[in-house]
Symmetry: C4
Subunit: 290 residues, 4 copies
């Protein structure tokens, strides 16, 4: 009557769970069985539907006419998601690990705004964060491929992360300097009302967004902002270059791992069975998985 859960295969000590908990686990967390796949597809539909409901609620003309309908539908969705969240906690082997995982937090944050909305007007709109849950449903199709790709990306971002932080502090300083200069040059009469607003303008300019709500009007200000734009142009190249290089390294590293047992050379592709330098067999068991 008692079985071990599939997910616990990695744990050395075998954990015994009641069969209905395992059933729930299989349906909610896995996509191998028919019920699991159906659940995932249904969840996908519910997430999108619930997201559209919030969009509709924020549109005045729609909200006025269908106010009650939308509210009811939203609460049904919220209650369903709440049950799902509880079911996940109950069925999973290590509840705390799930609760503090990326998707665990997303799941919680998806239902909280609805309850918060009862006390604070406006917060229920934050339910749009539910759309992040879409990222999970990727496991319906090609999960392994996805995880590998994401790993490459995350590896590259982590490797670049520190450099990007240094870069952001530099940008902040550069923005503060330029914002101050423009505040002095252009002054309040041209829209550069204070230094924070001037810094906002500097960021709008450096990132090449350029709303145009604030724009230099004096020749000196236009000359200076031309220089800022051109340096922004050069600065823009740096993070792009950093990420490109890191992505290149990460994708390279994710490919070459094994060494030829005969000539000891590296640099073989993932799907290589024989060493390309000496012809020796490298990784026999790759035949099936590769």
């Amino acid at each position: 009557m008692i079985q071990k859960m599939p997910a616990s295969s990695k744990n050395k000590e075998k954990i015994y769970v009641s069969p209905w908990r395992q059933k729930i686990y299989e349906v909610i967390f896995e996509a191998d069985t028919k019920a699991g796949k159906a659940f995932d597809v249904l969840l996908l539909v519910f997430i999108v539907f619930s997201f559209i409901l919030v969009l509709f609620e924020s549109i005045n003309s729609i909200e006025k006419e269908y106010s009650t309908g939308i509210k009811i539908a939203e609460w049904i969705m919220t209650i369903l998601f709440t049950f799902e969240y509880i079911a996940r906690i109950v069925s999973v082997n290590r509840p705390l690990k799930y609760i503090f995982s990326f998707f665990g937090i997303i799941d919680l944050v998806s239902i909280l705004p609805a309850y918060l909305g009862l006390f604070m007007q406006g917060t229920q709109y934050l339910m749009t964060v539910r759309i992040f849950r879409l990222l999970r449903v990727f496991r319906i199709f090609k999960m392994i491929q996805f995880i590998r790709e994401a790993d490459v990306l995350i590896m590259a971002l982590k490797a670049s992360g520190y450099k990007i932080l240094v870069f952001l502090i530099f940008i902040l300083s550069f923005t503060a300097m330029n914002g101050t200069i423009m505040y002095i040059v252009e002054g309040e009469e041209n829209g550069f009302t204070n230094i924070p607003i001037s810094m906002y303008w500097a960021i709008v300019t450096l990132t090449t967004v350029g709303y145009g709500d604030i724009a230099p009007k004096t020749p000196m200000g236009q000359f200076l902002s031309s220089i800022i734009m051109l340096s922004g142009y050069a600065i823009l190249a740096v993070p792009t270059g950093i990420v490109s290089v890191e992505l290149g390294l990460a994708s390279k590293e994710s490919i070459t791992t094994q060494t030829c047992p005969s000539c000891l050379k590296e640099g073989h592709d993932h799907d290589a069975i024989y060493c390309k330098y000496c012809g020796e067999e490298i990784n026999p068991e790759l035949d099936e998985t590769g």
Copy 2:
């Protein structure tokens, strides 16, 4: 009296076609003969001419004066293109393969709007899609070179495609979150009328387009959108980096042309001496040249 078509050389079974069909095929589909080249150049001119006609038709001042002339010229073009389309179907060996190929669809879509325009006002403007046909006329000069370059590009995009999809879903979620926050912070009185419009603003900002039709006005909104812009800056680097890396890999991979003489598999590196799949020696003379 019966000849085999040049294009069918790859098919194992030889197909016999009547000579006039082959003649049409040579003129329309190939650019080796004088007639074929002349046809391609004429087609190029007609496509550009027909495109300009539609542009003119949409300009009020021109349309009012030359309405009849433009209409007649447009219909002549459409009828010519229709005949060409029929001729292509008739002369080609496998009509269905052509009809559902990229250029087959473009050819059909180029003539449909004119006929649709008889029933639905405005749809005839979609004839501008004809300009896509220009891509085909590249075969007049350096066709092979073009196809190889395009292959590298398509290979790189396909390899990146999945990552870009994940990326787009992330962007959508990020946009939804930011749009909602800005809708709450700025509110309807500052142009953030509802969440869909706030999301539109978030996309305009993240992609650094920055029209300025909607722009944050409260200090809090300006501070938040500064952070959004800077993260957009960092996020922008990711797809560029991905495509750069993939393009680099694709162009590297596209260099390898040899096939293993034993297992007939492709995809070997430049410096490979032994086939990485079966261990057979691929290219003995590579030992010296490296």
Copy 3:
């Protein structure tokens, strides 16, 4: 009395020129002698001065007051540049080759607008093109370094050129399609007056410039343009990636050329004297130049 010109050292047959022509040649075309260096610096100053004069002429308030002074100074500059141009033609060994070279054309185009301005009002402003002549003065310092860098750049751009052309035709088609759709969706009342203007809007959007002079106002138009912006985001990555890859290849090619005479391996750096794989001497004469 008759000497051979330094620049003709590459020509197999020696050409004899009169000494004063050689003198002019040395001063104008070379930067090794004191006179040659002084000439180059003076030319740099004159180009910048002449450029600023044209800027001043276009500013109403300045032009009104100093009209005569600016005119006289401009004509002095023009006459000096004309004499210089004639001196270049006279002193150079192969006048036609110079005239049709990049800098020969720039030199001519720099003086033409002033004379054209006598007949056609406004064309004299085109004298600003003189600023391109600044690119030449780079030979005062580190000419060889500059030429090598430029070669890498030009090599990379040439290698990418064809792909970028294909890319531009695709952009044109994409723009035409989106412009047409937006013209139909938004219509004349929202600023999308005709298809050419809609295409202008599509280019402003795709390139992320986003003036905001024309912006979608209907929800449908805003939704469609969001998609256009996001695809522009993805499309933007392609040319950047292409140029990155080509620059990488070009700079790589400009580095690795020699092969080790002992183990025949490649991939040595420019400054390598010994093979890094077997320790054999690669390129003995590199000791001095490297």
Copy 4:
């Protein structure tokens, strides 16, 4: 009673300093001791606090109410920073080297505007430059890592610097040409008042900032600026590509750490077995590890 300073360990001749000078040095310049760490954290807090003060001073509504308080706090900060600056000069071994170093200049520039503000209204806002001092506090955590990353970045920027300069001169010329053409085509009535403003517009367009304060209104101007935007698109790819390639090279080069035991030269590749300069074996055990 007399000790040598830790920082002088690299100098061959030992320098003797009084113990209190060394104490100050340890606290201010180093982060190993408890006092040194506390000082660095306090400095970080003071810099941010002082920066926020200047922001507040520039906001009218805040300045009016808390004018005296802000002024007093600002002067306390300035005097503290002045003492710190003097302490740095006094305690450091080579004062001139510190004064003209990057951080020495930043430190001086951070306090000057406050004193200048006594004579010239408005210059005290330049105190925002203090935020650059934040870059120093990075040594509290992971200093070595930071320095290495920064070195890679600076190496890459230096290697690209020259190319970027050429690129900027080209951009200036391109901008001048386009600005002039648009000035002639659009004219003063459409906002292109003079050539400098037209050049400002050209830079705003090329860098894809696109404020929209000036935008082409004639069909010809819109057509020309579409071409400028698309070329800006292509041109944008160049500096990004350059920096990507250089960053790639720099990060590759930065991996090599070993020095040749014979000629003591650095800069060997990862896979080098023999020194490429003198032919000596560098790292025998590399044979196995590759």
